[in-house]
Amino acid sequence: MIKKELMVVTKHEKIAEHIFQLTLQGELVLEMGNPGQFVHLKVSEGSTPLLRRPISISEINKDKKQFTMIYRAEGAGTQLLSKKVVENVVDVLGPLGNGFPIDSVESGQIALLVGGGIGVPPLLELSRQLVAKGVKVQHVLGFQTNNAVFLEEEFAKLGTTIITTDDGSYGYKGFVTDAIKDHNLQFDTMFTCGPTPMLRALEKLHGQKPLFLSLEERMGCGVGACFACVCHTGDDPTGTSYKKVCSDGPVFKAGEVVL
């Protein structure tokens, strides 16, 4: 069930250039399920900024009633969020959307997890849950440059992890798609989250295999009421059928929606 709760900051730190890791505690964690779901945060009490900010869930710890998210502090809202300190509260609406379908891979199969930039965080909990299920995981994580890289160790503990940077300042130089080809990575199912051009390229190259993509779209309500976040469906003879990224997604099967 979706809840709104003032959750308490238990940990908040900078983990890379402009990148923050925030852990929050509260009852809402008990409602969290599949990785890939997100929360909608109100970063200020007043009207500026007015709207909530969608941020993916990166790790879930139900025992401690804590979850972690990782975000890039860039615009007005995320910069305000980055000022929160331990014991402050954050107004959280969630969990929202449908996450990655863990059931689509079986124990013993291989899952390839491909993340781009700030699309990397939701893959961490996904990887953990897949490993717990007996799935073999491989990761290709793309970043712009050296000091933007984060979570490498955490992913490396779970399975093979290839880091790519656009400028070659760390790891493999080039796009995630090239790294997959060069390393001749084999997989049964691919899960991916990142910028739309990256998702498009992956869909084009690997769409014939089971492939699940997590999309980003500008949001108003985050719950399906405002129709801000709609996209066309893949099979749409009338031009009027749609999916809402917030409530039907953000994770879709390749081909389900037009990227």
């Binding site: 069930m1 979706i2 709104k4 109100k42 009207s47 500026t48 900024p49 007015l50 709207l51 909530r52 609406l93 779209e217 500008r218 949001m219 108003g220 309500c221 985050g222 719950v223 399906g224 009421a225 405002c226 129709f227 801000a228 976040c229 709609v230 996209c231 066309h232 009338t238 031009g239 009027t240 749609y242 409530s247």
Partner: protein, 311 residues
């Protein structure tokens, strides 16, 4: 203390979600019992299904947001057979928002939707462009708005409220023309046309270029317009525009609104409507009112009294 009677609408309280900010209620029904609401102004229905505008369709502004959703809806027939039928499980009278691009579209939708069991009133969205007069919004020319109102009144099985657009030079003239054409009530205000440009791109941040501004930023405009119009017409007004809390509601009533709709605030706090409904009696008590109707038009009623005594 909160009940109020308006044409077609016998409301348990004067609070309702504004059209386009609540879908057809399904999403918010997961948060609370919709029967608590005074009414629900459902999302605009058009004759044919509409996908709406390309994304991004929303952008944030200082204390507000721009939207150019583009009236996405499944078409009036599906709205009746699926959405309104679903809403029948709740004890709440529905106000159906009607849109179109020419008079015939409105007439078609109004005739059909006004016959649904739970639709107790229509709200005409006259901010849509009139194709026949070359894409100018119905709501910007009093004669055109009056013509539309008359045509819809003829076919509607329930009272007709017309939703005024604030994007006009003379809102009172518009309101009077619509009242004279036979409207049973007014709802106001719709969004203000606005634009934002991206710093890096130099280009409009929403795909449609312009969008409708809503949220707390537009509240003073709404209050001013309701204050002016409510003194000039004798049909009731449902007020909206930036309402966020119980005090905003009282300010709208003071300005001359008889009921109040909450729009953008639902996105920020999904519980805003039931919270306001719960807080309203205590706030009215604190301010010395026994019934919510005593607040209506207090701003200008008080002015009138002062003027009388001083003359």
């Amino acid at each position: 203390m909160l009940d109020i009677n308006l044409p077609g609408l016998s409301l348990k309280n004067p609070i309702m979600p504004a059209s386009g900010c609540f879908g057809f209620g399904r999403e918010y029904s997961k948060f609370y019992d919709l029967s608590q609401l005074g009414s629900i102004m459902i999302k605009a229905s058009t004759q044919e299904p509409r996908f709406g505008n390309p994304t991004p369709r929303v952008a944030e502004t200082e204390a507000g947001m721009l939207n150019a959703i583009g009236l996405q809806n499944p078409g009036v027939h599906k709205v009746i057979s699926e959405e309104l039928a679903w809403l029948e499980q709740y004890d709440v009278p529905i106000i159906a928002n009607v849109a179109g691009s020419q008079i015939e579209d409105y007439v078609y939708v109004a005739e059909k939707i006004s016959q649904a069991n739970n639709v107790h009133a229509l709200e005409l969205n006259i901010s849509c462009p009139n194709v026949k007069t070359g894409g100018i919004a119905f709501g910007t020319i009093p004669e055109v708005a009056a013509q539309l109102t008359k045509a819809v009144k003829e076919v509607s099985a329930v009272p007709v409220y017309v939703k005024l657009s604030p994007n006009v030079a003379n809102i009172v003239e518009m309101a009077k023309a619509i009242e004279d054409a036979g409207a049973d009530g007014l709802t106001m205000i719709n969004t203000l046309i606005g634009m934002r440009l991206g710093l890096k791109t130099g280009k409009p941040v929403i795909a449609n270029k312009t969008g409708g501004l809503s949220g707390p930023a537009i509240k003073p405009v709404a209050i001013r317009m309701i204050y002016e119009v409510s003194q000039a017409v004798s049909i009731p007004i449902i007020g909206m525009g930036g309402v966020q809390n119980v005090d905003d509601v009282i300010e709208f009533l003071y300005a001359g609104a008889s009921a109040v709709a909450v729009g953008t605030a639902n996105f920020v706090n999904p519980f805003v409507c039931p919270e306001i409904i719960e807080q309203l009696p205590a706030r009215l008590n604190e301010l010395g009112f026994e019934h919510v109707t005593e607040c209506i038009g207090r701003s200008w009623k008080a002015d009138a009294k002062t003027a009388h005594y001083s003359s």
